[in-house]
Amino acid sequence: MMDNKSLISKIIKSEGLYNFKRNPFAIAGALIILVFLFTAIFGPHMVSQNPYDLAQLDLNDSYKPPIWQEGSDPRFILGTDDQGRDMVSAIVYGVRMSVTIGFCVTIICMIAGTTLGLISGYKGGRLDSFIMGLVNVQLSFPSLLIAMLVLIAFGRGVWKIILALAFSGWVTYARTVRGTTMSEKSKEYVEAAKVIGFPERVILFKHILPNVMTPVIVIATLQIGTVILSEATLSFLGIGIPITEPSLGLLVAQGYIVLFSGLWWVSVFPGLVLMLLVVGMNLLGDFLRDEFNPRLK
């Protein structure tokens, strides 16, 4: 067992951290993610209203422009929508939803995909052909189509969209982990563990798993951004998050309806925030991918 102190000193002395500190894009990505995590956790307690509690809304406040335009209201920095919702508050609640869904889906995919990949790569045979057959079929369809299919069947809802996106996102992990597991299982440490007589479960999750985690972490970082975008897209199309719940995609859709009346702020700001969040995830994900890819060194 490695004690915490040596782990921390190992991280501090590592090449990865050295490269991270010298890469302004990676630092920017990490900072953006930190700001968004902070917003998702504490933001809803800091904004002036709960935009999804109808009792707190006043229709007299509807369609106020952002603060630098004429006819604005100092209470609403980025203006209000058709129901008098403060855009800042609505965006903060939307960010919380995006981040929650992004992390939930990624964690579910990571656990399911990695487990199936480990088993598939270690056991081989019929089980392997079955799991990989499933993976290959699913990979030949765009994930948006698969998510749409699930949502068409089950209807709109927060848990349903998590399910739909998880259903379409586990395959990448399974395929990568299976490949790595197959090359790991012939190595001496696995042979040794077998000879000692450890049960398969222990060999898989205690010995092989730590050695396949590197690509898994890279895929996960890059996946969070994709998941967040997919959720927003499905919600925008009206088959994702129900209108009673906060979502950046739905806000853009509401703004789209009133776009031609010159009310541009309802759709522009939520989309901008969404883009910034995904940029942060992709910046960090790109850095991790280059860092862990031995072929680029």
Partner: protein
């Protein structure tokens, strides 16, 4: 080779059968279309009559058997709303979708490949870094939001381009086409750009990665040592091999864009098959949803089949098993 083609063909049929079954089961989990289509004050007798008219009064197993027979005959039932064959509705709208998809792929390739070659060959210049950062922005951008921003700038503010519909169309072999009239082209520009942006960024990064990978190889070093001009090394020796991964994903990306066009069509009120799907979901028009899902899945399965076969033709090193 022939054995491989036959084997892949049989696999393709199996996948289509599985997809058909999944689509059938999933779509049957939707609410009762009779309740959704008839006015709320309809009596139970009227509801029963409506269900019988739509073939929904028999057991799920009977319905499934009928569905399989009909699929083999290419008949996916009549739309509950338009009272016309679902397949016909989708085929009518397909040219509109293909039009923006093809144009988007064309725009993307035209810009992405030269830029990707440049960025891959000169990775450390300021221009390369800017292009790469810009491509990251494009990948991170929600497509629907980008379309809305385009409408805001070019339709609402500047008034240069229309924001919805197809404009004037010309009928060629029964297909309604927009790109043959000036008004139609003006309607095409914004949807095609919206659809192209993410594709452009993905292709650029793929070309760049391929280029960087190829340029490290020995035969390039050898060509340089031999005294081949840098320009010929880049475009003669390197590009050919760098493009193999780009071309292989091209087919798959085409299918992806057909599905992604759903978003673009919704924003620009473009009367393609994607918009038809979203409209049909909103009114629970089951046959149309099934027809769309079946057709889209078949498109992917067939594209995959063709790509696999072509792949083995292009690259003889691939083992056929």
């Amino acid at each position: 080779m022939l054995f491989y083609v036959i084997k892949r063909f049989i696999q393709m049929i199996i996948v289509i059968a599985i997809v058909a079954t999944i689509v059938f089961i999933f779509v049957n989990m939707l609410g009762d279309p009779a309740v959704l289509l008839l006015p709320p004050e309809a009596s139970p007798e009227e509801l029963a009559k409506a269900r019988a008219a739509m073939g929904l009064d028999s057991s799920p197993w009977e319905q499934y058997k009928l569905f399989v027979v009909n699929v083999i005959h290419g008949d996916l039932g009549n739309s509950f709303v338009f009272r016309e064959p679902a397949m016909k509705l989708i085929f009518e709208r397909m040219p509109a979708t293909l039009e923006i998809v093809v144009l988007a792929m064309f725009i993307a390739a035209l810009i992405a490949i030269p830029l990707g070659v440049y960025v891959g060959a000169h990775p450390n210049t300021f221009a390369s870094r800017s292009i790469l950062s810009l491509s990251l922005l494009c990948i991170s951008m929600p497509t629907f939001w980008f379309g809305i921003v385009l409408i805001l700038v070019f339709s609402v503010q500047l008034g240069w381009l229309p924001s919805s519909g197809r404009g004037d169309v010309v009928i060629v072999w029964g297909m309604r086409l927009s790109f043959l009239t000036w008004d139609g082209i003006k309607h095409l520009i914004l949807p095609a750009i919206t659809l192209a942006v993410q594709q452009l960024a993905t292709q650029l990064r793929l070309t760049r990665a391929g280029m960087m990978e190829v340029l490290r190889q020995d035969y390039i070093k050898f060509a340089k040592a031999k005294g081949v001009s840098p320009h010929d090394v880049l475009y003669g020796h390197a590009l050919k091999n760098a493009l193999i991964p780009v071309i292989t994903v091209y087919g798959l990306e085409f299918g992806g864009l057909v599905v992604f066009a759903t978003i673009t069509e919704t924003i620009f009120a473009w009367p393609g098959m994607g918009k038809l799907l979203i409209d049909s979901i909103n009114i629970s028009d089951r046959p149309v949803i099934i027809a769309y899902l079946m057709l889209a899945s078949m498109l992917f399965v067939v594209i995959n089949f063709i790509v696999d076969i072509l792949y083995t033709v292009v690259d003889p090193r691939i083992d056929l098993r």
